[in-house]
């Protein structure tokens, strides 16, 4: 059984339709990558899955149970969320922020218990344990992203929903995070729903040899679902962005795909991608 089943979903803000007829599934250990141009509804779709927004039509099931039957606490046991932007208000210790992921296990007058110990283990696994005692308002953007990811993992849920997790990161950090996600899917059997506007990201994940599906969102629909290399070589980018594209294999490496795109005959992405 799939962990997440989305069936014929439609959402609109007032009169403005964001998307309709969206259906897909995510299995444990599988990464589902939502790709599409800015404003295509990737983030909105994720917020529907997280119960932050209520779709006008359609059905979302988590573990076979309809979302409407979940309380916040129950859903937090199934799905954890890593936001794209996070507003930092108070200078908490970083370890405390990570430990907040245990909120669903916290009861009314519960002492801090073992939450902190658990948070430290996860931070150690992610290699950010040195940040533990720092005030999290002083962290860099990349460090914060790792902390938010750690917080989601501490939640011990079966699925991660990440909204543009690497949008503000440099190439190196991007690669680190994507590889980490691939590892998590593979070793922990996590289901991952991930949104991005960069076609190279799903390609990178596919290279890691994990079970990956890509959903191409465009014009209020999810027009294509499938393995990234297949979708991206089918020439459908031309229909969406009006550009030519081609998957390039890097010579000398096992399988490393990068997407090269040409617009008005200009060739640019390959050089960037190689760095």
């Amino acid at each position: 059984m799939s962990l997440l089943e989305v069936n014929d979903l439609a959402f609109s803000f007032g009169d403005k339709l964001v998307f309709e007829h969206v259906s897909f599934t995510v299995d444990p250990g599988q990464v589902f990558c939502l790709v599409g141009p800015n404003g295509c509804g990737k983030t909105t779709l994720e917020h529907c899955v997280l119960m932050h927004l209520k779709p006008q039509r359609g059905d979302i099931r988590v573990n076979g149970k309809s979302l409407s039957e979940y309380s916040e606490r129950e859903l937090a046991g199934e799905v954890a969320y890593v936001p794209q932007t996070h507003v930092r208000s108070f200078p908490y210790r970083t370890i405390d922020v990570v430990a907040m992921g245990r909120a669903r296990k916290q009861r009314f007058l519960d002492a801090r218990a073992d939450h902190e110990q658990y948070a430290l283990e996860i931070m150690d696994q992610l290699g950010i344990d040195h940040l533990a005692e720092k005030e999290y308002t002083t962290l860099s953007g990349g460090e914060l992203q790792m902390v938010l990811l750690a917080r989601a993992l501490v939640q011990e849920s079966k699925m991660l929903v990440l909204d543009e997790p690497v949008a503000h990161l440099d190439v190196r950090r991007t690669q680190d995070i994507l590889l980490l996600l691939a590892k998590l899917a593979k070793s922990r059997g996590l289901a991952i729903l991930l949104s991005t506007h960069d076609f190279n990201h799903p390609l990178m994940l596919e290279d890691e040899g994990i079970d990956i599906q890509m959903g191409l969102m465009e014009g209020g629909r999810m027009s294509e679902i499938g393995v990234p290399t297949q979708i991206l070589s089918s020439g459908c980018l031309n229909d969406i962005y009006g550009i030519e594209s081609q998957i390039v294999e890097i010579p000398g490496e096992p399988v490393h795909h990068f997407l090269a795109t040409w617009s008005n005959g200009r060739k640019d992405c390959v050089d960037n991608a190689k760095r």
Binding site: H47, H52, S71, E72, A80, P83, F90, P91, Y92, G101
Partner: protein, 336 residues
Amino acid sequence: MKPNKAKWAAAIIAVVAVFLLSICVGRFPLSPDQVLQALLQRFFGIDFGITPDAIAIVADNRFPRALAGAVVGASLAASGCAFQGLFQNPLVSQGILGVSSGASFGAALSILIFSTTLFTPAFAFVFALLAVGLSFMVARMCGEVTSLMLVLGGMIISAIFAALLSFLKYVADPYNQLASIVFWNMGSLASLESAVLPYGFAVMIIGLVILLGTSWMLNVLSMGDREASSMGVSVKRARLAIVSGASLATAGAVSIAGTIGWVGLVIPHIARFIVGSDNRTLIPFSMLLGAAFMMLVDILCRTVTGSEIPLGILTSLIGGPFFIYLLRRYKGRGWK
């Protein structure tokens, strides 16, 4: 971890020391021995030959007054903390959100209706809740709730309730009711009524337990509504619980001691400078500081002259300049 333990120890010692000081000093000359003996004689029936007036001074005046000071101080500080955390706004406190004036109005109204003080905690609570709700609604009227709008909304609601209280004063019977109504906006521990104390205490303690129990939720809520709900916290219910706890604590304090300004604003900031922003430690630490501060100020109120000095005058006179000093020293640490 070590320095933290030292901070807690210092705060606890301060509370105990100020409490002891508070039952040992006063206009009535009693040595610390006599104070101890008076307490033992009253509560354990051991006869030290202390005179009844000395026993009444210690056991019926200083002791309940110190206790009330401690709980009122703790309540005001904790609820101030909760409001600041909830609205993520360093400028708010029960005074600025209209909670205090709402509670005062409710308390005064119950005196006018029932001519007994037994219902004041309940009325104070209902109107405290109403006031904070209205402040928030006014702030939300113009779309997004910004810090500025929240403070503005609070000021409006606070002013309305203050005016309503003045109106009650106008229609109140000057011979029988006025004095007790004037008391609500003065703020004092001088006129504690033995009959109301247990209710007031009960309301404050329920409020404090709620605030302590939900302090972790405050942390989670400060991550933003969506993140909080994805971490398993029902945002609406958590907010309601925290606002209720803070309103209960404030209402209980107002119903036994009237409106005492500044404590709810200054003490949480001072505590933030010392132990940081984690509400799980900040709230209990603020409670300790608030308790010590309030008892200390009250000692001054009742010993400096033969008459009572209104508490509010001293809380502002001491709290204001001390706050400026701390701001200077810590350069606003604790807030971004």
